[in-house]
Symmetry: C2
């Protein structure tokens, strides 16, 4: 009988565990759990763990109310079920007993909550704990054709949503209302859900790179940054466009052109074999030469897949070598506090010879009513 894709992934994880001399991989609800078992739920306050030993079968430790769902999942596992009435401690202690003597290195999900990590640390007092991403990124960074297909579909949906929204009158709308319009457009185009909280930053808010969306009303003369994404079969898209409502403020067109050029040059710099830092350097150099180096206050991009942010990060100085199938954002920005910001973002996949955008919507400045 041939192995399911999930069983193959577990086998590959165990090979890497042997190589890294890790004894146990402990995952909480996360993209890693989804990738290895097909099961996912929002992380809650109840202990739910997938334990993968270096040798032997995986074990799921689950609250009773998730038991049927995990049992029905695609990965055959041993199932340990705890009930609200008794709590998880006894079950955890028993499940970890085989590791108590020889748990050298335990890898835990990077996002595992302190409430669970402290329990594990107490149950395995001699072990050294380290992050699962060291191992999981090696499996997940290079996407296969099916994964890229899902991401291309998710990218097409955000492209389409952007095209619809720039046809509307946005002057007078609150940022939240415009965010909702974008989300409804994505849903109508077939998005499973949003990939992250939609960002609409207008006027001076556009100078805050991580502002979300609020009650501010968009007015003529505003620069508006739209940064949004959705999921298809669990895989994310993420796009940013900067538009202007009516007449742009002074210096805006110059700044826009610098960002557009930095993004374009960085995308063209992508190819297998070069360090990620080289892509960051290309974007940063363009912006620095134009005199805005101090206003580009974040890295150039982040990997994307089942998580919106994952490895590889496109950061200054990163020596990580790009390989075919890696997918990441390229999103330089310039932020002038109190005035406006500009950011342009596409997702790029590394091909045999270069980089290819998954997003295909225009970079030309859009003036919206």
């Amino acid at each position: 009988m041939s192995k399911s894709p999930y069983e193959e992934r577990i086998a590959r994880v165990q090979e890497l565990m042997a190589e890294m001399e890790a004894d146990l991989l402990a995952l909480s609800p996360s993209s890693n759990m989804l990738y290895l078992s097909g099961f996912y739920d929002e992380a809650g306050e109840r202990l739910l763990l997938l334990l993968i030993p270096r040798m032997g079968g995986p074990i799921f430790l689950v609250p009773e109310l998730y038991a049927e769902q995990v049992r029905g999942g695609p990965l055959p596992t041993e199932l340990h079920i705890w009930r609200d009435a008794s709590g998880p401690e006894g079950l955890l202690e028993r499940a970890l007993r085989p590791f108590r003597q020889q748990a050298g290195l335990v890898l835990v999900d990077d996002t595992m909550g302190a409430r669970f990590l402290l329990m594990l640390e107490e149950a395995l007092p001699g072990a050294k704990f380290s992050l699962a991403s060291q191992l999981m990124a090696r499996l997940r960074m290079e996407k296969g054709p099916e994964e890229i297909r899902s991401m291309a579909e998710a990218a097409a949906i955000v492209d389409q949503a952007f095209a619809e929204v720039i046809g509307l009158r946005i002057s007078g709308l609150t940022e939240l209302a415009l965010a909702r319009t974008l989300e409804e457009a994505m849903a109508a185009e077939g998005a499973e859900k949003v990939a992250f909280e939609t960002l609409v930053a207008s006027g001076p808010n556009s100078a805050l790179p991580h502002y979300r969306a609020g009650q501010r009303r968009i007015e003529p003369g505003d620069v508006v940054i739209l940064d949004f994404g959705c999921r298809v079969r669990g895989y994310c898209s993420d796009i940013t466009r900067t538009v202007v409502c009516g007449d742009p403020p002074g210096e805006f067109q110059k700044v826009y052109e610098v960002v557009r050029e930095a993004q374009e040059r960085a995308v063209r710099a992508v190819k297998p074999g070069i360090p990620a830092g080289e892509v960051d350097r290309t974007a940063r150099e363009t912006i620095t030469m134009a005199g805005y180096g101090e206003r580009f206050i974040h890295r150039t991009g982040h990997g994307i897949g089942l998580d919106v942010h994952e490895e590889p990060y496109i950061s200054p100085g990163s020596s990580l070598l790009l390989r075919k199938g890696m997918t990441f954002s390229i999103e330089p920005g310039i932020y002038l506090p109190g005035r406006f910001g500009v950011r342009i973002e596409d997702i790029v996949v590394v091909t045999d010879s270069g980089g290819e955008r998954l997003n295909n919507c225009t970079h030309a400045l859009q003036v919206v009513a």
Copy 2:
């Protein structure tokens, strides 16, 4: 000059820290951070900490791209800013240096990701780490009038969304489409955002208490569980109703009546001074007497406020004493695997003499087209 509400909360935290002999409270982006500083963002992969020592002022340690937002927030703090190019390690080490000699007890956010907790543990090798909820729950469990007002508004929105949806034809819709309809109704009624991923579980999926919503199409004869909530000024609502599309399956009406009665009796049991476990016992007893005790596979409820799930939990045997201003769900359920499930949930606030529902929409069985 009088203190802001945030400064008052910090002062109260420091009193409790002295009482618990905790030296440092370390918060990552979470409801605790929001409650104490007014600042919140989705937890990301960049280190962003609010450090509160037992004595002295709070310190924010933030990535450069959040600096302007934190600086503009309502709580005056010392601000330590790190840049993507250099990473947070050096800054963290310097910020924690004063605690290195005498960090006895460090309280960390229950939801703090392992990626950050492991950094803190490395930076403070002698310290004992424990969960911040022990302290924060004491501040947050008993809500004030303004908090209850926000929660009542959020509850009125979900009541209204439910009333709208049962007037529609749902037969033929996918679960996801119905979930989206509920979310749009909440948004139209003034919700800031959903409080959690909307749950629509139809037919046999209704027997899975934590199933979300999928591509299954609702058909006549289906039991459908709707479990959804929204936020107003950060505060959550959460409601569950079970409806039937057309003719109900056998045994359904009996099961529905048992759950309805269990919920009603549990709500009536609420009053200040009794243990939370007593409310759970009341619901459980009703269900057990009817012969479904083994099919009620979760606790009766959870506290709610800035988090959808927070203390106090209404669990079997809990000795936590209810106090005026506590807010929690009462949501007994019965799940018959492969067939259907029933759950009814309202949010209740403890008053001077009893408990009062924040939700006011009907418990009578709704038969939907």
